[in-house]
Symmetry: C5
Subunit: 354 residues, 5 copies
């Protein structure tokens, strides 16, 4: 998480457009997978040079180039040169601290956003930057890591006669975006589980570890919201754009993604309110607890302090203390020892302290 805020300064002072990978090095090498498909069929290849990629430039086939691992700067620079991509775009692809955005460069569209999904048995949230270039017959995706987020799309592309394969690069790009937003929605299960376990702890016996849990969830929400909020602008930008690369027919699908993004940001707002509310319950519970402790102390002290005073009186060694010699003194004092607490208990009960 910290990666998104700490690694920015290392490039300060370099001229713009200088291609250097800025960010944590998450993979040791760059893997390039190409899926080329037409209405009738498709093929899947692992390639290593830009020439191979350019070789798929076909009449009416659509080519999806998936670049995983951003360590091989040379190959990304070569893709940029071959497909005439602006240096600033290549810089943004390699620089993993991007703010999600959509840019229209006439010949191609550029999207960059964050993927978030729970990992390691749902206890840690993974962050990854994904960049998408939409050309008329190519879609490039640049990912920091090899993971499974686009596997469902690959599976659908492999099916013969998929509805999918009759449509253009805009629909493929939509599917990628949709898969990412679905990952966001899946974070809700993660958050629900986290909040529920905090709620249980609050009902049981809250301690400082409960506070830490609340703050950890809150901290993560800050980062999630920061990643998710610009997505609304991003998809909104696509909806408003009049690029020829996105057909009217596909626009309806982007509108659907927009609704999903609104749902995600709504949910994050709700979670924030709920975490704030949990924090208040925590503080009030601690305060209640202290109140209860104070009451017990007060009841004990106020009952025994006067009694101890009485014992102190008759423990004095004055020569002239007539009560000491009187036979009924001791039993009478015991009566006091029973009466005084009774009276005080009655008073405290009336005050609702017990």
């Amino acid at each position: 998480m910290a990666a998104s805020t700490t690694t920015v300064s290392s490039k300060a002072g370099l001229p713009p457009g200088t291609l250097v990978h800025v960010g944590e090095r998450l993979e040791s090498e760059t893997r390039i997978t190409v899926i080329d498909y037409t209405r009738d069929g498709g093929s899947e290849h692992t390639v290593s040079t830009v020439e191979e990629i350019a070789g798929f430039r076909g009449a009416d086939s659509i080519t999806w180039v998936n670049v995983e691992g951003l360590v091989n700067v040379a190959v990304i620079e070569a893709i940029g040169q071959e497909f005439d991509i602006h240096p600033l775009v290549l810089e943004d692809i390699l620089h993993t601290g991007q703010r999600p955005k959509f840019e229209d460069y006439d010949d191609y569209l550029f999207l960059v956003f964050k993927v978030m999904y729970p990992a390691h048995g749902g206890e840690v949230v993974n962050y990854e930057q994904v960049s998408v270039l939409i050309l008329s017959d190519y879609v490039f995706t640049f990912k920091e890591k090899r993971d499974a987020i686009f596997d469902s799309i690959k599976a659908r592309l492999r099916k013969p006669n998929a509805h999918f394969r009759k449509l253009g690069t805009d629909y493929l790009a939509y599917s990628l975006l949709d898969a990412v937003v679905d990952q966001y929605l899946s974070l809700q299960d993660y958050m629900d589980a986290a909040l529920e376990s905090i709620e249980d702890a609050l009902l049981d016996e809250p301690d400082s570890s409960t506070l830490m849990s609340i703050q950890r969830v809150r901290h993560e929400l800050i980062f999630m919201r920061r990643s998710a909020a610009p997505l609304r602008e991003l998809v909104g930008g696509i909806l408003r754009s009049d690029s020829e690369l996105i057909s009217d027919h596909t626009m309806i699908y982007y509108r659907d993604v927009y609704d999903h993004v609104l749902r995600v940001t709504d949910a994050f707002d709700t979670y924030r309110d709920m975490v704030g509310s949990l924090l208040e319950i925590y503080n009030s519970t601690i305060s209640n607890h202290m109140n209860e402790v104070m009451k017990v102390l007060t009841v004990f002290a106020t009952i025994f302090i006067p009694l101890t005073f009485l014992t102190g009186i008759y423990g004095m060694n004055f020569e002239y203390m007539p009560e000491l010699k009187w036979k009924w003194s001791y039993p009478l004092l015991w009566a006091c020892f029973l009466l005084i607490p009774a009276v005080l208990m009655f008073y405290f009960r009336k005050k609702k302290w017990l």
Copy 2:
């Protein structure tokens, strides 16, 4: 309530437009009721096939198809095919985690929103997703449950010569929306009762259960506001749309619904402020209480501690303690025992601690 945040992820990875019911299964079967009416009369039927529904396609009759229970995906898919509904719309109908929205598909209008109403003697709030399709001579409503929310409209339709029956599908859709917003307004009684009982508890003797009540109401308000807020956009979208399916004459009625929606969201804002204010009263009351407990403890301790010290002195066993032999020592000490508390009480009263 949790349903609206937890069931989203189960569809992640499926291609868009895949028809699967996502959400809690609230009914065991799907019941379809058709009300067909013209200016002169009407009829009511329970049907089970799409052919039967299509059979009501008449010259100038208006047909309201009410689908309750979303378990029978096949019949909803068939309706979509028969009436040429976009697959994404059908998907939204079946997916019960929708954000309320309005969409204009030229041939038909699509509304989806939440119904909320108190149930079980006013102690629980029920949530239900309702989708409405407005065609030129058909209105479809898709509901998760069989309940009474549209019964008043059915009753009005049954009346001969109802003003209602002279108007088009736009007016029927308005009536449905109006009935739903009236349900929202009825939540105010529920909220008023809840807040009043909390206020009573605060005046009486607030404890941790009061805190829980406040937080429960607050929690529910978060969900209610989340359901109600997008309704403003929804009705606003209808008012701004220039669809031919809504006549100018009916637009005035939608403007009226818009006012009601504003009233609902205003009321929810007011409730939120009031709940926040109740929470502050709670915290201040607890704090006051503790203050009072502390005062009692302090008064008791500060009065008896010096007295007990005095008894301690004359309980010592030194051989040379002249006071012990003096006759008036004991009565004089008793005078101290009375004087010291009197002085301290006077001091505390001046300090306004008693």
Copy 3:
């Protein structure tokens, strides 16, 4: 106050446009007063039928119809029919939970808003809904109660050669609105007095009743702001409207009212900030107080606890305690009894506890 949030649901389920009085029944009957005036003179009548009202339809006279008490639904329905008012407008007039709004129906303008003014010696705030219909030669006002809010306008109308009487219905409506906004401004005296008395209580000796006062004022501010805020939209709507019923000449006066409304909402915002600040003073004062109590307890306890321990030692009955027999033990111990408190007091003073 509660009336504005609780009486809404009683109409749920009725068809729109059904005329039923919804709200508290504040008058037992409906009184209709008509003031008819031209440039040269005027007359004042109390009428009971719609025919009488319609009878004032004169060449160039302006007729103000003031309806007080909304119990007689029939007469309001008759007015609606005679002057061709939309059923939804009549419904809004009779339904006292309206959100303030302005609507332009071409032939007439419709305003509905709340009047608020302090009553009963300035200790209670009265709320009343007022609806205004502006026609080309008639102005209708519908009020829930008989009260004095429009008396100053009546007085001005009675004066011969009043500047007032040379102008149209738009100026009359402006005067009514201006009178209402002046009532809002008069609430400032009420609020100033309330805040000042709380400030005094805070400086003196705040207790839980002070807290209750703060919360009551805050509660009322929530309702006042809720009534006042939509007034800005209302007057803004009039300023933006291009209705022929409002002349350019009068528009300047509406602009003036708009400034007053801004001043009212500014003032309410200021009051809210001030109440928030009073609440914080209250909490800090309570906290300070507790701190002081704790210090006294601590000083007493820490001084006497070690002394009492010393007396305990020499109250023990061991056979071999040489100090007990030594002559100077007792005086030396007394020296300790004086020295220990002195040292502790010095320490506490250095720590600024005293």
Copy 4:
């Protein structure tokens, strides 16, 4: 300060345009100063009638009429009549509770705003309402008090060949506004000093008077912001206006004033954040303090309570207590008296309580 919120209601009920001075009476009489200047020279007069003012209506001279003290309503009414000013404008001039605003009446422009400046050795903030009327060859300023805020402008006008004198009434009005905004900026010194003294008190020994200081500054900030915020709209309104009374050349100067106003409102926002932060430091410091007091009490009590219990045991008078006769009992007990505190101190130190 209170003046701006309390004196409003006294005019309620009067017809609009009635000229009455509403506000505190700050001067006993009205002084009118006229400065008339052309490119070549100028003259300064104190006048008392409107005829004298009108007498300066010259070919190309510019006349600045400065009216100080609003008690003489007649002369202001006469100015209104002579120069054809709208009655509502005159009413606003005399009514000192105005919200700052800019209005364009074609023949003249009307500005009304608040002047704020620290007075009496920088300990009190003075508020004053200033109204400005800009005509083609006259500028009127109406002030509540005689003070020095425009003295620098008078001084500049007196200089021969001043750049100033070659420009029109728009530049004079700009200079007046600029002088006022500079007064606002000078409040920053006042605020900086106030905040610094609070910071010092917080580092030293905060008590309830520190709280009062914080709240007083906060209170004043509320009023300052309320006066300053509408100034942004005011100058923004001038910038957007296309009045012929303001030349393009002077517009650049108004743009500069606009920047200054933004700086003022930015500064006030910063001060608000800083005051909020000081309040939190105050509360945390009090809380820290109490924590420290509690620790001392706890350490004292927990050390001596068990020791006193031990002395109690051997102060009992049972006949069969073998320890009492044993020779080493007393020294051994003393060993306990030293060991127990040492163990407890070690424990507390480990817990970081000391």
Copy 5:
């Protein structure tokens, strides 16, 4: 930091356009460096008169004039005269309390903004005002101090055949702005380190110095945000402007800077949320701590108080106390002394106090 809020008033009362340096005097003299370059080569000079600067007015060379130290007002005035700069611009350059802004004066563009960077081993933040004038063949930069912020650009300009040198003044200005925004991004490391050290202190043992650290960071964030927020408007203004001084080709680069600025302001928002969250952890930790202290006190007091009371009873000197003579009294009492604490400990453990 304080400089930005305190030095404003010293110029109050002077006529606009008067050239006086307002702000801290950070350098003792003004150094002017000129870098003149064409596509083919460049040269670097230190000059002292305006004539020398004007001498670089060449056919197609671009001249960057870097003025460091604002003490020599005369030379800045001379530059203004030579290059026909508006007096208000010169005033803004010399006045170091400017709000960042962009202004288009047709013949030249004017930018003024703040540079912020951590200094002295990353513990202090430096603030500096930089003004930029963009002419068709000149770029002027005015800086308060001599520092290294533009060194990377100088280095790039010195390289033969730099892509840089083929572009106009708009690209040079962009590079300067980009360098400044990169400095902002480098503040993130500074903030990350500060927050991390606070987090460590919170986990370890928070005390009042931790509170001071939190408040210091918060305080600095207020100033940083105040400097950074207007930068968004500034770059936004450049993007919207249609000045001929900025080519379409360079606009893409400004769009990139705009993204960086958004990232900076996003990051500052995140930091603010995180600091707020740290403050809450601090307060809750202190509160937890006090709770723990209270528990220990309560446990000690409630265990020993009844025991001490028992010892008090049998320390009394009544003649008729049969237990005193009974042989098993003392051992039995010891049984009580062990049993009572055991029972109480069991009770407290059940209440989860231990």
